[in-house]
């Protein structure tokens, strides 16, 4: 019993980070119907940013977090202007390949420049573990998860409570209606990329506290983010949060029940099953 509680708890902790990164993906997706296939590689970049802030500047990853978020947000805008805007009127094929190619490029650059070595941020502010009843939680994991929860809350507040957020949601709802209301949808697109990539940056900075960093680290996390978004319902930030936690728990429980090699496979299968019986996802509209 204890081991189940332990497994579920660590699944929730990872799931919250997954949820945050998926929220960033689904935001862009919802606002402009573009899937960022380089999503996982954005995460990888963010983790390297954290790593070098620590290794070169001696900054604790928690202190570096705002900087990483800003850097990724800026990177998101650059990608929007340089890669996305030119393909907006193109075919779906061109759109898919533009971000897909970008992902491959980023991964290649990371391998070339940073090498394939695994890196790990050492002696951070958050170390050790604590017990809640029978469940032992790693402090780094817990702090990262709490951080993800806080950033997700900020994202909700931004979308729900501010004029800019309302404009973003209006653009997602109905682009031409938003334009008629005087919303500059092009600026909203750029903003979606800034906020979406910023969320990924936050997830990356938090994950980097305890997770090893290497050029392919985005591959699994990226795919999990797609699955999370599809499971939650495309464009639904709330759905992404719910599905993120669900996937976190499912993967870690699956690792316990089956061979750990299958832990992601079970999450992928769950996604396929949902796809068949509820194509719009858990919280998506038909």
């Amino acid at each position: 019993m204890e081991i189940v509680a332990q497994t579920v708890a660590s699944g929730v902790l990872l799931g919250l980070i997954l949820a945050l990164s998926a929220a960033g993906l689904t935001l862009i997706w919802g606002v402009m119907d573009i899937v960022n296939f380089a999503h996982g590689d954005f995460l990888m970049l963010g983790m390297y940013a954290s790593f070098f802030a620590w290794a070169v500047l001696g900054l604790d990853p928690l202190l570096a977090l705002p900087g990483v978020v800003a850097a990724l947000g800026l990177f998101g805008v650059v990608v929007y202007l340089g890669v996305i805007r030119p393909v907006l009127r193109g075919s779906v094929l061109a759109q898919i390949f533009a971000t897909f190619g970008l992902g491959i490029l980023l991964r290649g650059v990371a391998q070339f420049v940073f090498t394939a070595d695994y890196r790990q941020i050492g002696d951070t502010m958050a170390t050790g573990s604590f017990a809640v009843g029978p469940v032992h939680l790693g402090l780094p994991q817990t702090i990262a998860a709490l951080g993800a929860l806080i950033v997700s809350g900020l994202l909700f507040a931004l979308l729900d409570r501010t004029t800019v957020g309302t404009a973003l949601r209006a653009t997602a709802e109905d682009r031409s209606a938003a334009e008629l209301m005087g919303i500059d949808t092009r600026r909203m697109f750029a903003l979606a990329w800034a906020v979406g990539a910023g969320c990924v940056g936050a997830a990356a900075g938090l994950l980097a506290i305890y997770f090893p960093i290497f050029p392919d680290v985005g591959a699994v996390f990226g795919l999990l983010a797609f699955v999370t978004v599809a499971l939650g319902g495309f464009g639904s930030v709330g759905g992404a949060m719910l599905a993120g936690v669900l996937i976190g728990v499912v993967t870690s429980v699956a690792g316990l029940i089956f061979d750990p090699a299958y832990k992601f496979t079970v999450a992928y299968l769950l996604y396929l099953v949902v796809l068949v019986i509820r194509p719009q996802g858990l919280l998506g509209r038909a």
């Binding site: 997706w29 890669v83 094929l93 759109q95 190619g101 970008l102 490029l105 070339f112 992928y268 299968l269």
Partner: protein
């Protein structure tokens, strides 16, 4: 039957001349890989380029082909040629079974589902000890002969077979292109709803394209197993292979019969060159070049290399 067009004649001539000009085993190997990827890209093109269903999971069919013929050869002593047919049939069946739930998805959603399916297959095969698991499978070495599908003295026979594979995929494409199914597939790519309004059974035609595409891909998988004589999940099932297959078609020109050959003609030598230039440690360099190429093509010329030719032709003065 229409007479063979100029491209076909040029193609055959080029394929015949190539081994005469570049006789070294390394050059023949490059030729084999170009033809293999041209065949794979052409097979992908039927589903991705004509029907517009962008698959990032074609390695699944490649892997099914490679594993089916290899397992049948090792366990039952079945000739790889028969194993190849079995693999093609199995892959076509898999394509239909996977297609029924996933073909309801459009665009990005479909692409993601194919990645997920590919990853599941990759993991399952890696952990299935009954078929070698993570250690992979070595093919039994048999005497050189066409029946054994093994040639130990020269790579030329493999080159010939690879050309045959490409010719098969191309012939299938040209046949599809000129028939009702070719029109219907393009209609589905352009607008599935409008297609239904004029009587196209969208799912049925997507499934037909998928089955044909998968079968041709599986045949290439068998060829790969016989050529390399070793397979494991990481060489025949990885996402990177699926991407390379799709990339070959996209780079050359999706939905154009000769596009994938152009794509393979650029990509294969390019990856050989980067491999030589940067050696084993520079594994990132080819990714950088691939990635940059894909972004550039999508942003500047979504029609691929083949469309570049059209654009040039349009610039030239037209004969009156």
């Amino acid at each position: 039957m229409p007479r063979p067009g100029l491209p076909v004649i040029a193609l055959v001539a080029a394929a015949l001349v190539y081994p005469l000009v570049f006789g070294s085993p390394a050059a023949i190997n490059v030729g084999v890989l170009i033809l293999l990827f041209a065949a794979l890209g052409t097979a992908w093109n039927l589903l991705g380029g004509y029907a517009g269903q962008i698959s990032f999971g074609h390695a699944v069919f490649f892997g099914i082909g490679a594993y089916t013929s290899t397992v049948l050869l090792k366990e039952a002593g079945l000739s790889p040629w028969l194993g190849m047919l079995a693999g093609a049939a199995l892959a076509a069946l898999a394509a239909v079974l996977l297609g029924v739930p996933t073909f309801r998805l459009a665009g990005h959603y479909f692409a993601i589902a194919t990645i997920v399916i590919g990853e599941i297959a990759h993991t399952v095969v890696r952990n299935l000890d009954a078929i070698g698991g993570a250690r992979g499978l070595f093919l039994p070495i048999l005497p050189t002969s066409l029946v054994n599908y093994q040639f130990h003295n020269s790579r030329l026979p493999y080159y010939g077979i690879a050309f045959g594979l490409y010719a098969l995929a191309l012939a299938a494409t040209l046949m599809v292109e000129r028939r009702r199914i070719g029109y219907y597939l393009r209609a589905i790519r352009e607008d599935p709803t409008a297609s239904r309004s004029v009587g196209v059974s969208v799912l049925q035609y997507k499934l037909a394209a998928a089955a044909l595409s998968a079968a041709l891909t599986a045949i290439c998988g068998t060829f790969y197993a016989q050529y390399v004589l070793f397979i494991d999940s990481d060489s025949v099932f990885p996402l990177s292979l699926s991407i390379l297959i799709a990339l070959t078609a996209i780079l050359g020109g999706a939905g154009r019969a000769y596009g994938p050959l152009l794509g393979a003609g650029v990509l294969v030598p390019l990856s050989e060159i980067t491999r030589i230039a940067f050696g084993g440690t520079g594994r990132g360099a080819d990714l950088v070049i691939y990635g940059a190429l894909i972004v550039l093509i999508s942003v500047a010329q979504p029609g691929g290399i083949a469309a570049l030719g059209d654009a040039l032709r349009r610039r030239l003065p037209q004969p009156a």
